[in-house]
């Protein structure tokens, strides 16, 4: 990490590398207090997370070793079955299909979201005031629309009989869109889900990138242009390095969010047709809540979490290293 964007916050700009945290000559003089104060400050957060999230995760782990269905839920009985749930899940081809599908789906979505989001963010930075406001408001509206409404509208737009998409294709003179079924296969269903998720996620990336870009002073661009640098060059040598931390955290968040995406996929076609658009969260829901096999659902979620942890470990290492550097000052 080379440069932090001080200007992004309303703090007076100092423009020193590493920002205030590690400004040379200042870190050494001032020592933060140790003792019990920091523990007191983090205590409420730690307690709340342990009580709600931690307790839930532990119980989730516990029931993943049980036959836990409707009868056990209602009669409040416990039946330990050891690793049976895990065995069932891991022996199920559907689990591996879903895993593969989830990873591919996530990769495509995150690439598209980051790419389109970045391009729109850059475009926002270059527009006039009025056009910028118009585009920004459109993005905000898309971001704010409740998922239940957006999935319903997308379902309609691509409806076989009454969909605007088929109507538009007919209007444009394409053949075969009398009753084209956009949800005929798992892949085409996931393509529509992708459209929905990208549409809903791009605003977050674009608006934030734009906000970050406004903090890069115009002089830097001018100087670069004087040197005859192309737009491409300017992006890679100025914008990209400055915004690197932004890209890192945003990509991380998008990976997690898309990996966990459930409502959009389930609401559009229930993971179908013939389970062809079933991702891991959808599978956990169908096999868990849908079939009242909560133990199996718990096992799938534990496995999903483990996979995600392993996949993201490089990022956690990055974070830890950064923390260490900060502490070393």
């Amino acid at each position: 990490m080379t440069v932090d964007i001080e200007e992004a916050s309303p703090a007076p700009s100092r423009g020193t590398p590493r920002g205030g945290r590690a400004a040379p000559g200042s870190g050494g003089r001032w020592r933060p207090p140790g003792g019990w104060v920091p523990y007191l400050l983090v205590a409420p957060a730690v307690l709340a997370m342990l009580a709600v999230l931690g307790y839930a995760l532990v119980r989730n782990l516990v029931i993943s070793f049980q036959a836990f269905g409707r009868r056990q839920l209602i009669s409040r009985t416990t039946e330990w079955t050891g690793l049976d749930n895990y065995r069932t899940v891991l022996e199920n081809d559907r689990f591996w299909d879903s895993l593969f599908r989830t990873v591919a789906f996530m990769a495509v979505n995150v690439v598209l979201i980051m790419l389109i989001g970045t391009l729109i963010g850059l475009l926002l930075n270059q527009l006039g005031r009025r056009m910028r406001l118009l585009l920004a408001i459109s993005l905000v509206a898309a971001w704010a629309m409740p998922v239940i409404a957006s999935t319903t509208v997308f379902r309609w737009l691509f409806d076989t009989q009454f969909g605007v998409a088929n109507w538009a294709m007919r209007g444009l003179g394409f053949e075969g869109y009398e009753q084209h079924n956009w949800f005929a296969s798992g892949t085409s269903t996931l393509a529509i889900v992708t459209a929905l998720i990208v549409w809903a996620s791009v605003p977050f990336v674009a608006l934030n990138l734009y906000a970050g870009l406004t903090t890069i002073s115009g002089e830097i661009y001018e100087a670069a242009r004087m040197d005859g640098a192309s737009g491409w060059r300017v992006f890679w040598s100025i914008v990209a390095p400055i915004m690197r931390p932004f890209f890192l955290i945003t990509t991380f968040l998008e990976i997690i969010w898309v990996f966990k995406a459930f409502v959009q996929i389930y609401a559009l076609n229930g993971g179908g047709p013939d389970r062809g658009s079933e991702t891991l969260p959808v599978m956990a829901y169908i096999e868990g809540m849908g079939q009242n096999q909560y133990g199996t659902g718990a096992a799938i979620s534990v496995l999903t979490l483990l996979i995600l942890l392993v996949a993201m470990s490089f990022y956690f290492r990055l974070i830890l290293r950064q923390e260490k550097e900060n502490e070393a000052v």
């Binding site: 269905g69 409707r70 209602i74 076989t160 169908i286």
Partner: protein, 421 residues
């Protein structure tokens, strides 16, 4: 900034106080734990409003307690019922679909209703409420599908009301040839209609196999049933991958156009008529029972409906039983049937439905005797849960895939699910 913070802090206190109030309020109002009220859950659309409010008024007058009627939405109801049955006093009496009752009975969540065993129940309905001779629910109402047709279009086409499958196909051919209407609207996944055709051949979705159950679609009966469904569906413009609910055939398909006939329930017919009238049109519907293979027997129809049960964890079982007794008594059962204009199959033999000639109810009651039920096992609800393997099989078969291969897959999935608790 300071002022905002103060406002924020004030809001916080308010929230906490009110949250605490919510806590208190609901355990009194929602829970039937107190002795002066019971909570009844009925599904959206099941009970005519006047009937249920008169019933509750009468009950409140007789017992001096309050009845909290909570109408449940269909969306997410499975999770709500399951969790509610695990809570003490959340619900006392509840409506459960007849194909779901056995499953809930086996969870231990429903109370034994042995006291009600001697009432003159409709025998066919009773089977869905009983497990090994123990009664876990009592029948409330039944309903089945008939063919609803547009008299004008049928007349124009010169089509006759059929009494056999062959006549039915001939009538649809006549409509296709002589009018520009859609002869029948039949979505690809109306699996209970298909189940009737399988029952006509003597089959069912699944059969008992020793101690367990096994999917039975990859059978001659299954294939013949699907084959006839396919013949009918070929007359429809509907996509093959939707069921009758999305789009809702009665309010979203039939009113907007030129549908000569469709297969539906009583409330669907009523909904279509209302929607057509709202558009300024006039519905001219006739009704006939689904024809059988031969003229001497009508086609089998799925006997849908609901039962009423008492939660094992009811806050007040005694009052819950009293409410149930009143609601299903001869008097109130008769009033229920009357309030539905005879459009339901009565739950008791001493209640009569006297449908008007030419009405939906008349056609419906005619085929109620050849009603069929899916396998009444704990796991049947799992089979019906989306993604439903029967629906997937139907879409594949209608899209021209090899029936037996697809049916084998569907059977495997059904066998898997139906034997789960």
């Amino acid at each position: 900034m300071k002022r905002k913070l103060v406002a924020a802090a004030g809001m916080m206190t308010l929230t906490v106080t009110l949250a605490a109030c919510g806590d208190d309020g609901s355990s009194g109002a929602g829970g039937g734990g107190s002795s002066d009220s019971i909570t009844v859950w009925l599904m959206d659309g099941s009970a005519p409003e006047t009937w249920v409010s008169e019933l509750n008024a009468a009950f409140e007058a007789e017992h001096g307690v309050e009845v909290n009627l909570e109408i449940q939405q269909w969306d997410g109801v499975q999770d709500r019922v399951t969790t509610a049955l695990s809570e003490d006093g959340t619900v006392d009496v509840l409506e459960i679909g007849n194909t779901q009752t056995v499953g809930y009975a086996n969870t231990g969540g429903l109370a034994d209703l042995g006291d009600f065993a001697d009432e003159p129940w409709n025998e066919a309905m009773l089977s869905s409420a009983r497990v090994d001779d123990t009664l876990y629910a009592v029948p409330w109402y039944g309903a089945n599908r008939v063919v609803i047709y547009d008299r004008g279009i049928w007349e124009e086409a010169g089509a006759e009301v059929p009494t056999t499958r062959d006549e039915w196909i001939a009538a649809l051919e006549a409509i296709e040839a002589n009018t520009d209407a859609e002869p029948i609207y039949l979505p690809g996944q109306s699996y209970y209609v298909m189940g009737g055709f399988i029952a006509d051949e003597g089959g069912n979705f699944a059969v008992e196999d020793g101690d367990s159950w096994a999917g039975a679609l990859n059978t001659p009966a299954g294939e013949a049933g699907m084959d006839f469904y396919g013949q009918l569906q070929a007359f429809s413009n509907s996509p093959t991958d939707i069921d009758e609910a999305s789009p809702q055939q009665s309010t979203e398909v039939v009113p907007s156009g030129n549908v000569a006939s469709w297969i539906g329930l009583g409330w669907e017919a009523a909904g279509a008529i209302a929607a057509i009238e709202e558009q300024g049109g006039e519905a001219d519907f006739g009704y006939f029972p689904i024809p059988g293979v031969t003229a001497d027997q009508l086609g089998h129809v799925f006997l849908g409906g609901s039962n009423l049960a008492v939660s094992e964890r009811a806050g007040n079982s005694e009052l819950a039983n009293e409410w149930l007794r009143m609601a299903t008594s001869q008097e109130w059962a008769q009033r229920y049937v009357d309030a539905n204009a005879g459009g339901v199959v009565p739950n008791r033999t001493d209640v009569t439905a006297e449908p008007e000639p030419g009405s939906f109810a008349e056609a419906m009651v005619a085929s109620a005797d050849v009603g069929f039920l899916p396998p009444l096992t704990t796991g049947w609800a799992n089979v019906e849960t989306e993604p439903n393997p029967i629906k997937e099989l139907m879409t594949k078969a209608l899209n021209g895939e090899d029936y037996q291969g697809a049916a084998e897959e569907a059977d495997a999935e059904i066998t898997d699910r139906i034997n789960r608790e």
